[in-house]
Subunit: 419 residues, 4 copies
Amino acid sequence: MTPPHVRDSVELSDYQAVRDDTERLAAPLSAEDQMIQSMPDVSPTKWHRAHITWFFETFLLVPNLPGYEVFDAEFGYFFNSYYETVGERQPRHERGFLSRPSNDQVTAYRAHVDEAMVRLIDTGVGDRRDLADLVRLGLHHEQQHQELLLMDIKHVLSKNAFRPAYHPRPDMASTPPGPHNWVEFDGGLIDIGYEGNDFHFDNEGPRHSVYMQPFEVADRLVTCGDWLQFMADGGYHEPIHWLSEGWATITRENWDAPMYWEPSETGWMVQTLHGLQPVDPNEPVAHISYYEADAYARWAGARLPTEFEWEHAAVDVELTGNLASSSVLHPLTVQSPSNGTPRQMIGDLWEWTSSSYAPYPGFETAPGAVGEYNGKFMVNQYVLRGGCCATPPGHIRATYRNFFPAHSRWMFSGLRLAR
Amino acid sequence: MTPPHVRDSVELSDYQAVRDDTERLAAPLSAEDQMIQSMPDVSPTKWHRAHITWFFETFLLVPNLPGYEVFDAEFGYFFNSYYETVGERQPRHERGFLSRPSNDQVTAYRAHVDEAMVRLIDTGVGDRRDLADLVRLGLHHEQQHQELLLMDIKHVLSKNAFRPAYHPRPDMASTPPGPHNWVEFDGGLIDIGYEGNDFHFDNEGPRHSVYMQPFEVADRLVTCGDWLQFMADGGYHEPIHWLSEGWATITRENWDAPMYWEPSETGWMVQTLHGLQPVDPNEPVAHISYYEADAYARWAGARLPTEFEWEHAAVDVELTGNLASSSVLHPLTVQSPSNGTPRQMIGDLWEWTSSSYAPYPGFETAPGAVGEYNGKFMVNQYVLRGGCCATPPGHIRATYRNFFPAHSRWMFSGLRLAR
Amino acid sequence: MTPPHVRDSVELSDYQAVRDDTERLAAPLSAEDQMIQSMPDVSPTKWHRAHITWFFETFLLVPNLPGYEVFDAEFGYFFNSYYETVGERQPRHERGFLSRPSNDQVTAYRAHVDEAMVRLIDTGVGDRRDLADLVRLGLHHEQQHQELLLMDIKHVLSKNAFRPAYHPRPDMASTPPGPHNWVEFDGGLIDIGYEGNDFHFDNEGPRHSVYMQPFEVADRLVTCGDWLQFMADGGYHEPIHWLSEGWATITRENWDAPMYWEPSETGWMVQTLHGLQPVDPNEPVAHISYYEADAYARWAGARLPTEFEWEHAAVDVELTGNLASSSVLHPLTVQSPSNGTPRQMIGDLWEWTSSSYAPYPGFETAPGAVGEYNGKFMVNQYVLRGGCCATPPGHIRATYRNFFPAHSRWMFSGLRLAR
Amino acid sequence: MTPPHVRDSVELSDYQAVRDDTERLAAPLSAEDQMIQSMPDVSPTKWHRAHITWFFETFLLVPNLPGYEVFDAEFGYFFNSYYETVGERQPRHERGFLSRPSNDQVTAYRAHVDEAMVRLIDTGVGDRRDLADLVRLGLHHEQQHQELLLMDIKHVLSKNAFRPAYHPRPDMASTPPGPHNWVEFDGGLIDIGYEGNDFHFDNEGPRHSVYMQPFEVADRLVTCGDWLQFMADGGYHEPIHWLSEGWATITRENWDAPMYWEPSETGWMVQTLHGLQPVDPNEPVAHISYYEADAYARWAGARLPTEFEWEHAAVDVELTGNLASSSVLHPLTVQSPSNGTPRQMIGDLWEWTSSSYAPYPGFETAPGAVGEYNGKFMVNQYVLRGGCCATPPGHIRATYRNFFPAHSRWMFSGLRLAR
């Protein structure tokens, strides 16, 4: 990506805080836990920890720190994710075959790179805005992988028949979300995309005008309770609600509930990072595909918002949500009362929009490897907005564009109705 | 779909002209030719001929013609395409297993339905605008299948090792397309979508405003000669040009040229409806996927137009192209000279746009089975515009939206650059 | 194969009788019926008719009839089955894509080759034992394909939702098979394999000694009535009866009854060449895989016979069974009373044996293309013995070895218990 | 299996020796190494270590040791291999997803079971022949898994791009095997199968007579040098040598050399437990499928021996081969000189025979779960004889029957010619 113009130089403390967060998230996991690739989309925790380190080594240290010695030349093969311009790499679906390098070696790798990054930041970055921008990109990249790490380990642990918990459940109770209200917005020519001098990804710009019709969005997310009504009404068995490709998918995959839900004698249970729990009707429904979100909306006589509608509705919302902390990794919201503005916009669940992921007018990829960051995924993906309970604090904005294929469910995805 | 408001009542001669066109297209094919399903996307000619007839029987005759007797109750099972609301049906990928009903029975079916439709049109439609609209929808539906029939039979014949021709090659020579010029367009708030009282599909509306940046489009299609340069420059072997999913596709499928191209001792040949022919550098390149179109554009330092840009550029273009006739089923253009407006917009090749297929603001599906017509395909498809040499005359408009998945190549698809 | 030593010269009337039989079997089928390949194992009727003709043209006429003109040089590509030494050929799974050559052309091909074969037999074969042997091989090859033609068209018609009949059901009633008796055989050193001067396939020799333990075989086949008991006892749901690979197969394929059985409101129905019929408990059970035969035997406290046991038990049985005729294509037996010898050995159903298909000691393949006839299939196949109701009269012997993979079910396969 | 009649009671020292061997084999591997399932056929080392322990717990301790407390009730789910009668279990292809239980827990499990087994053997087994037999079966079962552990870890490490070694290469040189001599054997009625009072598996009996033709076997294995000649002669590119299914396999899989071979600038290399090594023409060729063994034999004008021929030829051979030790895990033979008897019969490489794996006459499975040991795999497998360099000493006999599907290559398989 184009390292964006950022307000000021990177602080060492920022670097260390983000790096520490990763280690804190990995701490409850053994070396063995950190190795598993439970499906091709999942990467092992160890791989995440090494890959984000390789990013700093490859794009910062090697070109910019005189005398830097690469920790291990083989790591470039193992921990490159998808940068075709940087050379051959471990096949995507064989990341779970890496017992070597060991977890301990990855820890040593992180320390080696951190030591060098401290030197680079201390000495070199102050005068070089391009380097500061690249460090900041590396940190945001690491934060993205922090969320992936949580998504992935949730999937890994769900493949264990006894459903171990990543973390004990915090002692919190949910509250009913209250009635479902619509919030109205005028249409018109509206500016979309990032504006400002702080960090943002290249795909959030250029800022540009979009003409919108008047629209309404729901003031809260769809809950598990709402979803149970959809299911009780035969939602998964009535093709008329579904996109043709969605119907083919649920039929082929035998889906009849969100991912991680499983029936029990006492009702629906759901696999969470706190282990298996009863489905809570107050919670927003999570781990649904685009197909399911779209079908629910159609059943409810509504539709999904476009990403522009969502951004317009969110732009004045305070960035305080249910963001990741070591104790809450679950979209378990104590509801703020309805007050005529949209609630749960930031940090609860990624919200599916009806927008296909595409470049904004005038978007250009950066030259070189970092140019592979975002642009090459702009096909057959749908945009999600708002961050989730696993998103690191400070890593979400109203203009932030996440994206997944329509069949994906292992991210913390939910939905809000529009019309 | 919502049967649109059409200007006047349907004429019997219109009905018969369209029905006759279908038979004329099938005439060069034996009963055996008309049975083959050479891949799941392809339908046999016989199936097309019967399915479009079933449409009239099911939606017009059964509900509206008193005393009408269904030709054969089993045909509803065989020839329903995808209307979930109408009941069970022949599996999509097993349409090639239908030796019974025979081709002769299908011909009799067509005669039976035509005879009844004549009665219906003569007697009942004059007073009923809704019926006239539905007849017209059926005729446009039949025209869509006329083009599918040609796409499909091209694929069928290409699977025969000796590459038989559907039709002899007409005696026409191509001319060089001349230099590649850019045509400029101002941006602004521009109306998009169908306007008027003639027939159009539901997905062409509602008409609405879109805000565009200024843009340029090429005044001609990319030619085979252009494409050979892309190939000579390693276009199919350099990941940097490709969407990630596109690179995975061409690697998995071993694509190194457009569909239907094959190497020979004397250079590239291409399978056409006229049999195997040398690739002509003057012709527009056809049978490319979205991935290939996008990669070419990136290689050329340009991009694909959005469907809105395309429509805005096309709106004043005369609807005279290289449309289907019994003698020309090949995008073989005698070039009009460059005159500062876009050429080859209508009736040469379907042009890939960068727009994902999505509903226009305010789009609503019709109640009942006809509501399944368009809406349920609005995911993971990209819009193509302009019609092609296999599109029936009268069946194309500047606002017409065709759509295919990004990997599809068996339709007559090409590309025009934008920037 | 090694054309075996046959007693006397081939008669023209033999040639014409076999060739006429093929046409008689194809006669109820339209050109469209004759085109379908309903699964990769199936070949279209038209392809069978042409392939067996190509055999005569390629191995008899081209090398031996001076001045013979090949009917069409392309046919060698289309109608070679698997002779690697004869050149490239139509992909096995794309035999259903051949609308051209047409059925009429195949009929003309047969006439062209027949006319030349008559000349060859009239003039050249009398003095040439090697040619007579090869003609006879061609005729037995054609008889094999006559049975395949019936197996295959049964499958083709079963894919049509309305289950058309190949031939009306003859007016015959079944009779109960009577109690299940065991017939004892002494063991010892026993000669196995073909002995004599008539035609036989290379894989039936060399004749050799096999040492056997004493054994017993049932005097009749397992019936549908027996099978219904197995099913009622949970046979398809209890892994302990099944080979590991068999259990995996029935689980993956959702098999819970023999092939062609389907439940109805009035009980189990079965697709036959006479259309859909109620399952008749008196009939031998047909269309079962090796896995199912083995599981049934285990459930019944017995086992399958080896092919040597079967041959030894069959060697004195008269060759009069329920062989193919235009009116009976169904293992519908009027039972001969039990008389202390095995019944239903010849011409009812191919009987699974526990023997893997392997060469007899001293077996050698013939040089050249005909050497590909049998040997190269000797892996992962199991031997079946006895012929079936679709086997041409005169084409079965006690030493005849048929073979199929363990999962195959579309041939007329049944089982007889041993212990 | 039927616990066979064994000569005397089991000794505690035998138990501990086998259990220690497993731990010694696992010792070079980290907890992370021990987790990987690199293909569905492979099991993680940790899983092997636990599964063989579960066998003792389930079949010995639970039913026979009063007061025994199961280590962890969940382990039955995780570490049951395929005993359908013992209940549900971890899916076969998801054994690599088990980070929990940890390697340390598995080590504790082994200690827990060992402690109890010592008590059982000390107190209970002396008087109970059935228990002694079952202990001995458990030990031989463990030895089978020791070899699997080595096969599997070889595959696991081969998936690491830098080809780490399991163990350093011992300092040994190979010697040329000398000319290829044939050893003649008379035919006749020959007894086959285990005879004696020591341990053997159920599938080695009952002992029975087989009538054989006279035959010859080569006095040595086919070497890598021999194989290079086959390759140089186009062996992998000439269909006439291959079984039809073998040709389809090598074409689909792109095989053009034995498994673990890879080309380099200096010639063929081979992945071994000592890392990547140059192919040594003196060594016997290893890691070949049945298809390749059969094709080589056909190319060489010979054939594979039957398992009966092999056993007859091996029965007087001394059981001293290249069996597993911590230092030699490679079929690297210092050749004994040719002396007119077959060499390399025991402990070098498993030798493919042409015999399909089938029960001997009179074979019966034991009642209950141990009856699932061998019988249910008797379909579509071919017998290999003689043990290999990874087989534990004491775990091989002339009558020992190993078996694998024809396409398998990851075991230490080689071939010896016969004719």
